[in-house]
């Protein structure tokens, strides 16, 4: 393992190779000077890493919790050219069993990775399978930000779990969930993810439990010993602040979007009353009949266009905001865990310092804590940067999509009104008027 990369580690912000080349690099994380407590001095290649519960970690596999290795790997997720794992969620189907009715989705995988036995898989999964996967990832990769799932329970009692719109919205969210994991250089190599994508019978696997798993361990629960954090590094404090403010903004935008949808719906109601009146009028007229009918059908077209716009906004736009709010929730949890790991380290360090005269060297126990902190910070920073990048992409797509939909709406209306003009102009041969 090259030792040159540790120079990047001090909290000046992790820069993936991808980011270094790009002039407009992500700087969000590079806000503060390196935190004094986290000087990485040793190489990680021959360190004995272990998870907080003591389970040793395999450092030779790229799926280790070592974020150094993480960093060395090219961030292909943004290029797509060297991506070697493609996952899709589609084809929702309803299943009726004696006990319950539920929906399954088809999960298709295409990959060249050697970790998989076959190059292609097609399995069916239901929501609780996704939920299981997420929980597993949270447990086994506690230093990483796990993408959110769509809401488990339907908030509004009135919403039909089996309606086309609901299923489609959920499908899209599940698809995004798996894609984000597949694009993650560490999470995508998680064994649970592999099993999720490939196992014919996931349920029996779930029941079998830990036996089949790698040395990574199962159900690792962080022992949050309730240590009090001395001081949070500025960088992570800034992350926390940002997340708080961002949540607030997202909430506001969500409310505004909902308000717009509501106003548009009310506008639509009036338009649908307005258009036919021109038709009524037309039936009383002679020469004006055609133009008035033209206006009536034009308004009907505009109404339809508006309806489509409102539906799109409701189905495509709003869910993304909700999803990001969930994302932020899980990120805040990861930040809390990080704080705990650091607090534990500080406490142990303090305890040692207290007894410094008695022991000449720093015990490995404290060193392990220190490593844990450093790894967590590095992983988190890497994920933070990745998340920021994805966030920018996602919102750019979302907002340009919103603009596009509005443009399309106006273009439809424009075409409708332009087609009315010829009906209203005097005929060039100046034909006589019909008796009105």
């Amino acid at each position: 393992m090259s030792v040159s990369t540790p120079k990047l580690l001090p909290s000046s912000g992790k820069k993936s190779i991808h980011d270094i080349f790009h002039p407009l690099s992500c700087e969000e994380a590079a806000l503060t000077p390196p935190s004094p407590e986290l000087q990485i001095t040793s190489s990680t290649g021959d360190k004995d890493f272990s998870l907080p519960n003591g389970t040793p970690v395999d450092t030779s596999s790229p799926a280790s919790s070592s974020s150094l290795l993480n960093r060395l790997q090219l961030d292909d997720d943004l290029d797509g050219e060297t991506r070697d794992l493609f996952v899709t969620v589609d084809d929702p189907k309803k299943h009726l069993s004696t006990m319950e009715t539920y929906i399954t989705y088809r999960v298709t995988t295409k990959t060249t990775r050697t970790e998989f036995d076959l190059p292609e898989y097609s399995v069916r999964r239901r929501y609780q399978d996704f939920d299981w996967l997420r929980n597993k990832l949270e447990d086994t990769q506690p230093t990483h930000i796990i993408p959110p799932l769509p809401e488990k329970f339907v908030v509004k009692g009135v919403v039909d779990r089996f309606s086309e719109e609901f299923v489609e919205t959920r499908r899209k969210a599940l698809d995004k969930f798996l894609k984000r994991i597949a694009d993650h250089p560490v999470l995508s190599f998680n064994d649970n993810f592999n099993v999720f994508l490939s196992a014919k019978d996931l349920n029996s696997y779930k029941k079998q439990g830990m036996a089949l798993l790698s040395k990574m361990g199962e159900s690792v629960k962080y022992v949050t010993g309730g240590y009090k954090l001395r001081s949070r590094p500025l960088e992570f404090a800034a992350m926390g602040d940002y997340l708080d403010m961002f949540t607030q903004k997202l909430g506001t935008i969500d409310r505004i979007a909902q308000r717009i949808i509501k106003e548009q719906a009310e506008y639509l109601v009036e338009l649908r009353e307005y258009g036919p009146l021109y038709s009524n009028w037309a039936s009383a007229e002679g020469e004006l009949r055609e133009p008035l009918e033209g206006v009536s059908s034009c308004l009907a077209n505009c109404s339809t266009a508006l309806e489509e716009l409102t539906e799109d906004m409701s189905e495509e736009f709003l869910p993304v905001f909700r999803e990001y709010v969930l994302y932020i929730e899980s990120m805040k949890n990861v930040l809390k865990k990080r704080d705990q790991v650091q607090a534990e380290y500080e406490a142990k360090l303090e305890a040692v310092a207290f007894r410094k005269e008695e022991r000449p060297c720093v015990p490995t126990d404290v060193e392990k804590c220190q490593d844990r902190v450093e790894c967590f910070n590095a992983d988190l920073k890497a994920d933070w940067d990745r998340w920021q990048n994805n966030k920018r992409q996602d919102f750019r797509l979302l907002l340009t999509g919103m603009a596009d939909r509005n443009i399309q709406y106006y273009e439809k209306c424009l075409a409708a009104w332009e087609s009315v003009i010829p009906l209203l102009q005097d005929k060039p041969d100046g034909k006589g008027e019909m008796p009105s």
């Binding site: 969000e28 505004i256 750019r396 596009d404 332009e418 209203l424």
Partner: protein, 442 residues
């Protein structure tokens, strides 16, 4: 083609009977218009008319209370001076709305067979929430000024109405015009509403054309009312949609403050959202013009209805006269032959109380003969009156129909043009916003 260009094109090729809204410059008379050559040239050909200003005044009203009211400046100028390049100052005088009303009432009574152009609304109706319903509101006053000018132009370009002396004095005589109007005694000639109502239910042989016209005018009134009412609601909702987008402006600005790379894109997009929200004010202000055009025809339908009503009245009177004549002739016959054809109380009483003397009968016959002669004369004149009315009215109704079709086409065109402009602005704003959004990341 812009609505106004279309209008100008129509103005050039059409007869002068079409009022040119806001455009007082008429081109040469249409040589094919027979009514012109027969009855001469309408006033608008020789005189430029405009209602150019509005002012507030205070004064004492009829019950000696202080009131605030608006007066409008009517300016007139002979056309010759303009074309010769001598720009003489226009003659002008101030009139208030009630004087316009007086003029119109006079015209209605004096020319009952004409579809008299309506005045702009007395009180603001079909208002959507942002629009003021206050008569003193500057926007309302401005729209009223335009409406009053339109009224004068329409009257001045009408082949019959424009020749009226009272109208001419309205435009030119500053003092004492009201007295002159009252002196004509037109108020005595006005038909009572009760009389008119009576006629509606009692006419036995209604003229089919007029019945259809009456139905049409009712339908037109009803449909335009509904249209105006719903349009106001649509305007209200549209306003809401646009204004809420302004909130995006604010939140994008706040959001951009916590972002680094995305900040600029968000901030500028926010400005476009603000512009979008602000644009609705102009859009809806312009749309009020369309509403005003519709309102004119709403009130025009009332004028049309009035012409039908007058016809009914005349028809009714004719029928009454004819009926009366028939009954009188019948009486004469009975008296002359001494037979009672139909049961009558008189017949009964005479049987009960004895016959009349020959002298009495002779006297009665003589009276009846006189009445019959008068009756025949009345029927003749009523008939002639009816015929003349039908003829004259139908000429103006035809003129009105043509004017209505052209005007409403023009109104619909300019409405469509407005909508097109609104769509284009919308596309532009969202394209601008989209460009900003796409700069948010690479």
């Amino acid at each position: 083609m812009r609505g106004s260009e279309i209008l100008e094109r129509m103005a050039d090729s059409r007869s002068e009977d079409v009022a040119v809204i806001g455009n007082t410059d008429l081109s040469a008379a249409d040589p094919h218009n027979n009514t012109m050559t027969e009855e001469g040239v309408p006033l608008l050909k020789t005189m430029e008319i405009s209602v150019s200003e509005a002012e507030k005044r205070t004064g004492k009203n009829a019950v000696s209370m202080q009131e605030v009211y608006t007066v409008y400046l009517i300016e007139t100028r002979p056309v010759n001076t303009i074309s010769e390049g001598l720009s003489a100052a226009p003659d002008s005088l101030w009139r208030r709305y009630s004087e316009f009303e007086l003029l119109r009432n006079y015209l209605l009574v004096t020319f009952p067979y004409i579809v008299v152009p309506p005045l702009p609304e007395k009180r603001a109706e079909f208002v959507w929430h942002k629009l003021s319903a206050d008569n003193m509101d500057p926007d309302f006053v401005e729209r009223r000024r335009i409406g009053l000018e339109n009224f004068l132009l329409r009257v001045a370009s009408h082949s019959v109405l424009s020749k009226d002396k009272i109208f001419y004095l309205f435009l030119t005589q500053d003092d004492g015009w009201k007295d002159v109007v009252y002196d004509t005694g037109f108020q005595a000639k006005a038909d009572s509403r009760l009389k008119a109502l009576n006629a509606t239910f009692r006419v036995k042989h209604p003229d089919k054309r007029y019945t259809e016209l009456k139905h049409y005018s009712d339908e037109l009134h009803s449909v335009i009312s509904q249209l105006l009412r719903v349009r106001a609601k649509v305007a209200d909702r549209l306003y809401g949609v646009y204004k809420v987008h302004g909130n995006y402006g604010r939140v994008f600005s706040e959001w951009s403050a916590i972002e680094r790379e995305m900040g600029d894109g968000l901030q500028s997009a926010g400005h476009h959202m603000d512009a979008y929200a602000a644009s609705v004010d102009d859009i809806l202000e312009e749309e009020e013009h369309y509403a005003d055009q519709l309102k004119e025809y709403l009130y025009y339908s009332e004028a049309l209805r009035a012409v039908c009503r007058k016809h009914e009245l005349i028809q009714y009177e004719l029928e009454m006269a004819a009926q009366d004549l028939v009954s009188k002739k019948q009486q004469r016959e009975e008296l002359a032959t001494g037979t009672v054809r139909t049961f009558s109380l008189k017949g009964m009483t005479s049987k009960l109380f004895g016959q009349e003397t020959p002298e009495q009968r002779e006297a009665k016959l003589k009276i009846l003969e006189q009445q019959i002669v008068e009756g025949e004369e009345l029927v003749k004149t009523s008939n002639a009156e009816c015929d003349e009315y039908v003829r004259n009215a139908w000429v103006d109704i035809d003129r009105f129909k043509e004017q209505k079709n052209q005007d409403l086409k023009e109104a619909l065109i300019s409405y469509a043009v407005m909508q097109i402009s609104m769509c284009k602005k919308g596309i532009q704003v969202w394209n601008n916003a989209k460009e900003c959004f796409s700069k948010m990341s690479h």
